[in-house]
Amino acid sequence: MERRTLGLIVGIAALVVLDLAVLRMLDGRGVLDLLLIAVVAVAGRVRPGVAALTGFVFGLLRDSTAPDAFGASALALSVVAYGVARLSAGAFEERLAATAAVLAVARVVSDVLTVLVAGRIHGTELLVRLVWWAPLGAIVTTVVGVFALRLLPPPADRRRGRR
């Protein structure tokens, strides 16, 4: 296996494990979303259909820990992964501002979709989630995501462009 591919797999696996195993304990409200960063990283490197499938599988892992909202994260991450892969084709990682914009939009869309599809919160709690926690989550996830994506091996197209 190519060294670059191995590095990518290890990086993505680390993000998933950290999100599912450690982050939940430190961050009960899910402000930082490492799973979404992993999905965006994959989406920037594969075809849209494969990206959607990856988002679905990662979302299912998260959903299994909250059976009340089972399917909500799978749907949200599938749509986000497909959208990122379709619109950007990996090009967003070349520029810092584009990377940040993609991560922020992906996080807000994912949060809104998950909350609406899960349908577990209503009224003021829903308003607070959408108006306060979703934008805050987008900022935190974007800051961490920009650094995380820089640490992962670049997409193949970008690498060829540098040569």
Binding site: V17, D19, L20, A21, V22, L23, R24, M25, D27, G28, G30, L35, R47, P48, G49, V50, A52, L53, G55, F56, G59, L60, L61, R62, D63, S64, T65, A66, P67, D68, A69, F70, G71, A72, S73, A74, L75, S78, V79, Y82, R86, D111, T114, V115, V117, A118, G119, R120, I121, H122, G123, T124, E125, R129, W133
Partner: protein, 277 residues
């Protein structure tokens, strides 16, 4: 070449539509059908991570409790040196260290890990499962009182409904036994999230703010005498027949990390003396 690209585009569209349809199907499945799927995913992929997470949580709590334990150890050392009234003092120190010595038997300690899905705050993933002899509807308590109950059990983990879950119910009474009712999570668009509601209290029985509410033992899920919360204010008086009260929960959600899951024989034996001290 163009035909190949079109074919790939079609495949992508088919995949994303399949994923969305599959997710929507899972979302709309009845709990009894979706739980085996969630259980299979949890047991295959998440359980190994959960073991690591539980040990990190335990380490974090151990660090937090280090100073209290150090004080307890110092006191025990002094007691050992004095060798006077050792048994009584030792019991007092054990009381400081938590609920477990009071419950004594028929329980298992667990980490209650919050779900990371937005809106999933009313459930917790427990770090114990069927191999620890817990079963669905096992009560979950902390030193402060009722935390929730076990909904589903896997081999090495379980899903717990906290008291904030819409499906959570516990039959309750005032500590002096003068009023009985059913406690549920309080849900309202006018605020008050994070509170409980005591419904069905006879109109003639008026509960003053601050009155302690405990489980009544009716229904057999929770043993009698476990603190649920304290009365905050009257919520409504429906037609002059019954009143509902708003309660402050005994166990705040953020404080719910280390819990005890009670096994059936312990529930049957009762816990009257545990919280009445």
């Amino acid at each position: 070449m163009a035909r190949g690209a079109r074919s790939n585009d079609r495949l992508d569209t088919v995949l994303v539509v399949a994923c969305v349809l599959a997710a929507l199907t899972l979302r709309t499945l009845a709990p009894v059908r979706r739980e085996p799927i969630a259980q299979a995913v949890r047991e295959t992929f998440v359980a190994p991570l959960l073991a690591g997470q539980a040990s990190v949580t335990r380490s974090e709590r151990a660090l937090r409790e280090a100073s209290a334990l150090r004080r307890a150890t110092d006191s025990l050392t002094r007691l050992a040196q004095d060798a006077v009234g050792l048994a009584a003092e030792n019991a007092a120190l054990r009381g400081l260290l938590g609920l477990a010595p009071r419950v004594a038997w028929g329980y298992v300690t667990a980490e209650a890990l919050p779900a990371s899905t937005p809106g999933g705050a009313s459930t917790r993933l427990l770090s114990v499962g069927a191999q620890d002899s817990i079963a669905p509807l096992s009560p979950v308590v902390t030193a402060a009182g009722v935390a929730g109950l076990v909904a589903t059990v896997d081999a090495r983990s379980a899903v717990m409904l906290t008291w904030a879950h819409p499906d959570f119910r516990v039959s309750a009474m005032s500590a002096d036994g003068s009023a009985v009712g059913i406690v549920t999570a309080h849900t309202s668009n006018r605020g008050g999230e994070g509170l409980l509601e005591l419904a069905g209290v006879p109109f003639r029985t008026l509960l003053a703010p601050g009155t302690a509410i405990v489980s009544s033992g009716l229904g057999g899920v929770f043993p009698a005498g476990v603190p649920i919360g304290t009365v905050l204010r009257v919520l409504s008086d429906e037609g002059g027949w019954v009143r509902s009260y708003l309660l402050t929960p005994a166990v705040p959600l953020p404080a719910m990390s280390g819990v005890l899951v009670l096994r059936a024989p312990r529930v049957a034996a009762g816990l009257d003396s545990v919280w009445s001290r």
